[in-house]
């Protein structure tokens, strides 16, 4: 049976390779701390469940410190020139799209098709994590296809990915850190405190009012935090789970999906989401740093209203 363990080992090997190549990249002024960062993540992929939680927690703090104090630098990569890229793109044409499209296609096939494949009595893929296992298999299949198409080795794929990974840098860790913060918020009762405030403010027996409070709360929290991932555990733990799923028997899957997307509407309003709203304004040489927000906020506002209705109709059918 291929399970989550396989996924973690695969990731551990990949991050280990990133650390190894990072350490040997003399073009990177911060190569040792960069290597330490990915090495630590790789080690935690293999070992996390065998270590005491406190030790893992200390590693998380170390990762955040490495990330936060500029420990990650950019190196040199065997890049091809503009002319060669143009030539290759002419030569390969639409075939370039296929390996990339294999990733979602294989993931989907695994999630839908391989789910029921069994060898003897054991399922081929661990049933609880079919999608995750499917995605990691898809990455392997797509890499094989890309290697065949470009006549390169998988190793050069890892090498080329460093260019992207180093460009993403510490931001790669952010969703994971925000998820761990969600756990701390939960242990500290932030969700209950938020729910307490909401309960005082709205009639909780009115399902529509609670739906509106959840969707608007997701958007508002996202405006404050600049990221829907951070708002999600707080608002869902505080409002959606106890009041909508518990009290009004809402369907969790559409509730959560539309709730998250309500948060995304908030991202369209806020300068906190600098990458999407402030950086492009600078990039496009706009005189008004909030020009992009001005152009897109009405879409976000109307869509937020639609989300309230969709959530009410779909999740509370």
């Amino acid at each position: 049976m291929i399970g989550l363990q396989f996924v973690y080992w695969l990731m551990g090997l990949y991050f280990g390779a990133l650390a190894w190549r990072g350490a040997r990249d003399a073009a990177n002024p911060r190569r040792w701390t960069t290597a330490l960062f990915w090495g630590l993540i790789a080690a935690l992929m293999f070992l996390a469940e065998h270590l005491p939680n406190k030790v893992v927690g200390a590693c998380v703090v170390a990762l955040a410190l490495l990330a936060g104090f500029g420990g990650l630098g950019r190196g040199g990569y065997a890049e091809t020139g503009e002319a060669e890229k143009q030539r290759e793109s002419q030569r390969l044409g639409n075939r370039l799209f296929w390996p990339a499209l294999l990733i979602p296609a294989v993931t989907l096939a695994a999630a839908l098709g391989l789910k029921h494949v069994r060898i003897g009595d054991t399922p081929l893929l661990e049933p609880a994590n079919v999608t995750l296992v499917g995605l990691s298999l898809a990455c392997l299949v797509a890499l094989a296809a890309a290697c065949r198409l470009t006549r390169q080795t998988p190793w050069s794929g890892v090498e080329q990915s460093r260019r992207l990974v180093d460009a993403i840098g510490w931001a790669a860790l952010l969703p994971l850190l925000l998820a761990t913060l969600g756990s701390v918020f939960e242990a500290g009762g932030v969700g209950q405190a938020v729910a307490g405030v909401v309960r005082m403010a709205i009639p909780v027996d009115n399902a529509f009012a609670v739906v509106a409070a959840y969707a608007l709360g997701m958007a508002l929290f996202t405006v404050i935090m600049g990221n829907a991932f951070a708002a999600f555990p707080v608002m869902t733990g505080g409002i959606a789970l106890p009041l909508l799923v518990g009290h009004h028997h809402a369907d969790p899957a559409p509730l959560a999906a539309i709730g998250m997307l309500s948060g995304y509407c908030g991202t369209l309003f806020t300068p906190m989401a600098a990458n999407f709203n402030l950086v492009p304004a600078a990039l496009l040489e706009l005189k008004d740093p909030y020009g992009v927000i001005r152009a897109q906020w009405p879409t976000g506002a109307i869509l937020l209203a639609c989300n309230v209705l969709l959530m009410y109709w779909i999740a509370l059918r």
Binding site: L44, A64, K85, P99, T131, E159, L164, A172, L261
Partner: protein, 240 residues
């Protein structure tokens, strides 16, 4: 009810307002919340470690990068750009709408890096939208150019945000799944992803209408300007 833990949220907001490094802000906010909720720092480490162990699959999206890196080295972006550029001959609104649709579809299948402000909006979409407006409606003033560029950037954001949630392996879907699993609900990621489609369709329709109205407003404003200029030329005494 203990409202003190809300200090942790305030700390997070403050950290982002002060533009401190988000990774540091997030971890610091965790410890501040712990203090406010009377959880010892050691126990906070414990919670952080447990959550990290359970949620480390959130880094899984990085495994797609070797494929993307390899393809990019062989001209994926260049090919995608030429592909988009073939849409020439359209109006500004049609161009933005076609881009929106492609951006949503591409991010829905996980190709979020095929677009973006540095990759496509600045070099391609914004100049093409300006060019289309200019060839259809005559010379543009600086203010109109700025608005068109801002709309192009906004279109990219809308397409990315309301496309990517449909791909089952995108972080948001996995985060939703793990959050609910912790609370005893087994949700299928595919199921979560599918419920992103109604909002994605609404986002597309709403933004299309806004782009079309934007084009009409732009035409009207340019016409008014031209009429005013003509009137000023025809009757210089009236303005003086």
């Amino acid at each position: 009810m203990n409202y003190w833990p809300l200090i942790g949220v305030a700390a997070l907001a403050l950290g982002f307002v002060l533009r401190l490094n988000p990774a540091l802000v997030v971890v610091a906010a965790g410890f501040i919340t712990g203090l406010a909720a009377k959880i010892s720092p050691l126990e906070v480490l414990d919670v952080l470690g447990k959550a990290y162990t359970e949620k480390r699959f959130l880094l899984l999206f990085l495994l797609t990068l070797p494929v993307i890196g390899l393809l990019e080295r062989h001209g994926l972006k260049e090919h995608a750009q030429r592909w988009v550029a073939r849409l020439r001959g359209a109006t500004m609104a049609r161009l933005l709408i076609a881009y929106l649709l492609m951006r949503q579809l591409a991010s829905a299948v996980g190709l979020t890096s095929l677009g973006g402000h540095p990759q496509t909006v600045r070099p391609l979409l914004a100049p093409m939208a300006e060019g289309a407006a200019q060839s259809n409606h005559g010379d543009l003033d600086e203010d109109t150019r700025q608005r068109i560029r801002a709309m192009a950037a906004g279109t990219d954001n809308v397409g990315l945000f309301f496309g990517e949630d449909i791909f089952i392996a995108f972080g948001a879907v996995l985060l939703i799944q793990s959050f609910f699993a912790e609370h005893g609900f087994k949700l299928d990621p595919l199921h979560i992803a599918l419920w992103g489609i109604p909002t994605a369709i609404c986002a597309f329709l709403i933004h299309c209408v806004r782009v079309l109205r934007f084009e009409r407003a732009t035409i009207r404003r340019l016409a008014q300007q031209r009429a005013a200029e003509l009137a000023a030329v025809a009757d210089p005494a009236r303005d003086a």
